[in-house]
C-alpha cells in the first residue's frame, strides 16, 4: 500500500544480497551512506577514528602524544591549572593529569568493548534461542520460557544497583565492577535479539525457505541472523557509550574503590572518585577525565545515531525524500515497513510490549 504522496521514482528490489563481493562491500557502502547522510555522523566518525588512533598511540608509542610512563609520579608542580607543560594541569601532589587521562583511554575503551561484546554474544545467543525455538510444548519452548523468565528478573533489577551490589560483594575493585556490569548488561541484548527474531521469523522469505526444504539451522543462520544483525549492530554502537557511562559511574560510586593492581594503569571513574573532594579548588582534576568520558561517548553516540537513522526504515524513507540519502542500489533488500496508520514500534527499539502486541 503505497501512500499517494507524489513520490520520486526510486528503484528498490526485494531479496537479500547474494554474492560474496557484495557481502564484503556492504558494510563499507553502508558506512559511506551513513557518513554522507548527516554531517553529525561524519563528525562522530572522525572523532571515533581519532580516539582509536590515540588509543593505539598510547598503547604503542605513548611518548608521541605526551604520555609518560610510569604514571602517578609526584612532581614539584603542585595543583597547577592547565598549561603547556601540563595540558590538563596537575593534582595536589603534582601528578600530571594529562598522562593519566590518556593512559586511561585504552583501558576504558577495552573494558567497554569487552563488556558490550560479552553482552552481545551471550545475551544475543540466548535471545536467538528464545526467539527461534519458542514453540510451545517442545523442549525448545521450555528452554525459551526459562530464558525469558530469567531475563525478566534481571531486567526488573535496577542495573546500577545490581552492579553496585555485585561489585561490593566481590570486593571493591575495578575488575569486579567489570564482571558486575557484564552480568547486568546481557539481558538487554537477549530481549532485543528475541524481539527481532520473532518479527523476522514470520516474514515471507523465511516461510519460503522452509517450503523449499532448507534445514532449520541453515534458515537460522542465513536468513534470520543476517536480518537481525543490522538493528543489533546499531544498538551496539550506541551501547558502547552507555556502557562507558554506566561503568565509570559504578566505579565512581563504590567507596574507596581499589584501582588496578598494576601501578601503570589509570581509569577515568577512579580518577573522578579520587579527585572529587578537590573539585572546587582544582576543577580540572575532575573535569579532565569527565570530559574525556563525555567526548568518547559523544563520538560513539553521534556515529551510532547516524547509523540508526540510516537503517531504521522509517527515518530512512524520510531521508530519501530530502537530499541527504541516495536510494539503495537495486541489489539491496527492500525493507520498507509499510507503516499504515500509527507508527508501528520497530522491534528492538521499543522493548517487548508483551501485552497488547
Amino acid at each position: 500500500m503505497a501512500s499517494k504522496t507524489p513520490r520520486v521514482p526510486v528503484a528498490l528490489a526485494a531479496g537479500p544480497s547474494r554474492s560474496a563481493i557484495v557481502r564484503v562491500g556492504r558494510p563499507l557502502r553502508l558506512l559511506w551512506r551513513v557518513l554522507r547522510s548527516n554531517p553529525l555522523s561524519l563528525v562522530g566518525f572522525v572523532l571515533v577514528v581519532l580516539i582509536v588512533v590515540a588509543t593505539a598511540l598510547v598503547y604503542l608509542a605513548p611518548a608521541v602524544i605526551g604520555v609518560h610512563y610510569p604514571l602517578n609520579q609526584p612532581s614539584n608542580a603542585l595543583g597547577q591549572p592547565p598549561s603547556w607543560a601540563h595540558p590538563f594541569g596537575t593534582d595536589p601532589i603534582g601528578i600530571d593529569i594529562y598522562s593519566n587521562v590518556m593512559a586511561a583511554l585504552p583501558v576504558d575503551l577495552s573494558i567497554a568493548f569487552a563488556i558490550a561484546v560479552f553482552a552481545l554474544v551471550f545475551g544475543g545467543l540466548l535471545g536467538l534461542v528464545a526467539g527461534f525455538w519458542d514453540t510451545r510444548r517442545t523442549l525448545g519452548g521450555a528452554v525459551s520460557v526459562v530464558i525469558l523468565r530469567i531475563t525478566d528478573v534481571f531486567l526488573a533489577f535496577p542495573s546500577l544497583i545490581l552492579a553496585l551490589a555485585i561489585a561490593v560483594s566481590l570486593g571493591r575493585g575495578v575488575p569486579q565492577v567489570i564482571i558486575a556490569v557484564m552480568l547486568t548488561w546481557w539481558p538487554y541484548y537477549t530481549r532485543l535479539v528475541r524481539g527481532e527474531v520473532l518479527s523476522v521469523k514470520h516474514r515471507q522469505y523465511v516461510t519460503a525457505a522452509r517450503v523449499a526444504g532448507v534445514s532449520e539451522t541453515r534458515i537460522l543462520f542465513r536468513h534470520v541472523v543476517r536480518n537481525v544483525i543490522e538493528p543489533v549492530v546499531v544498538y551496539f554502537t550506541m551501547d558502547i557509550g552507555t556502557v562507558i557511562v554506566t561503568f565509570s559511574t559504578v566505579v565512581f560510586v563504590i567507596p574507596n574503590v581499589i584501582s588496578f593492581p598494576s601501578t601503570n594503569t589509570s581509569e577515568w571513574g577512579v580518577m573522578i572518585q579520587n579527585y572529587q573532594d578537590s573539585f572546587s579548588a582544582l576543577p580540572w582534576t575532575v573535569l579532565a577525565p569527565g570530559l574525556a568520558i563525555f567526548l568518547t561517548v559523544l563520538s560513539f553516540s553521534l556515529l551510532g545515531d547516524g547509523l540508526r537513522d540510516v537503517l531504521d526504515p522509517r527515518t530512512r524513507r524520510a531521508m530519501l525524500e530530502t537530499r541527504r540519502l541516495e536510494p539503495a542500489a537495486p541489489v539491496e533488500k527492500a525493507e520498507e515497513a509499510e507503516s499504515a496508520g500509527p507508527a508501528a514500534p520497530v522491534p528492538g527499539t521499543v522493548p517487548d510490549v508483551t501485552g497488547p502486541s
Binding site: 500500500m1 501512500s3 499517494k4 504522496t5 507524489p6 520520486v8 521514482p9 526510486v10 530519501l320 525524500e321 530530502t322 537530499r323 541527504r324 540519502l325 541516495e326 536510494p327 499504515a340 496508520g341 500509527p342
Partner: protein
Amino acid sequence: MTASQLAVEGLSIDYEVGTGRYHALSDVSVTLDPGRVLGIVGETGCGKSTLAHAIPRILPEPPARVVSGRVIFQGVDLYAVPKWKLPLVRGTGIGMIFQEPLNSLNPAFRVYDQLAEAVIIRQRREAGLAPMFRPEQENPFDYSRHPRVRAGEGLTGPFVGSVATDRARRPRVPDSVRGEVLEYLRLVRISDPESILGRFPHELSGGMRQRVMIAQALSQRPSLLIADEPTSALDVTIQAQVLTLMKELLAEIRTSILFISHDLGIISEMADDVGVMYAGRLVEHGPVAEIFGRPRHPYTKALLHAIPSRYKADGDLDSIPGSVPNLSRLPTGCCFHPRCALARRECGEDPPPALVPVDPAPTGRTERDPPHSSACRFFSEVEGLP
C-alpha cells in the same frame, strides 16, 4: 463568461533528491470552470498526483521545488503568498480526497470527531469567528478581522474522543454539528449513520471509509474538490458504487472537481474535460467525447488502444513499446518521441511542442467545452494510426 475557477499556468516543479533532479511537472497549464469536472489521466509517475498536490500547495517543500508557474484560484495566485497563509484556502475553498481511505483518515480518532472537526471549521468561518479566504477582497488572506481563534468543541474534542468513552453519544454535543455530520453521512448513502459515528476508521470497510472521506470533504462545501485516485484502492464492485455516488452528487452540488485517475474508463464516465499527461507534461486536452472519440496525440491513441477489449478473443495485448522515461533524464525534444510511431527527426531535436488547438470537431460541442488541443506537431496524422 464566468472566470475560470482554477487556472494553472506554466507550472513546472522539480524534485531535488540525492540522485538528481526529477522534473515532475514541466510547463503544465490547465483551466477548470465552475461546475465542471476535469479528469487528468496518465500512467503512474506521469505527474498527475504532483499536480493535484501542487494546487493547494501541500507538496513537501524541501525535496519539491517550484521552478516556475502560477496557480490562480478564484482570481488569486496561490503561489504569490507565503505558504503559512494557505490554510485559509484549504477546506472551504479547495478540498481533497485521497486514494487510501485507511491512511487518509486519522486512525486514532473516531469518525464523528473527524467529521465534526471539518464541519466546525466551516461553521466558524462562515460565522466570521475564524478567518476565511475571500478572493473578492483586496487582501484575500486577512487574518486580522476576526477575534482570536478559540478552540471550538470539535477542535479539542478528538483529543479525548478516542479514549474509552464515546463522545458522540453524549448529549452535550451541540445539535447543529451532530446534525450536519449525520446529514452528510446520509448524503453519501450510508444507511445507518448513527452506528458508525463512534467507530474508528479501521473498523469500517474500504468502501465505507471512502464514503466517509467524501462526506468529510463535502461537509466543508469547497468550491473546488480534488479527487486523487479516489477509487483505485477499492474493489471493483465497491468502486462502481462509489463512482455512481459521486456522479449523483455531482448533479446535486455545484463543486467543480479535478479528478485524477490512471483508469481511462473511470475518466470517461466522470469527466467533462480530460487532460492527458505523460512524463510531467500535458500532452492533450479537450472535451471527453473528443479525447476518447478522436484522440489527437499518439500517446492518447496508444493508451486507448492498449485497453484489453472484450471483443478480441485472440491476439496479443497491445502495449506501448519502450518504457516511461526517467524524470531526471528526459529525452530531448518531445518527451514521447522515443516510443512514438509518428516520430520524425524534428521531434527529437526541436524543443518540446506546446499545446496547439486541433481542428474543431463538428458536432456535439457546447459553448462551455474547452478547445481540443494537442502537443503533437503531427496531430492530424494520429487518426491514421492503427
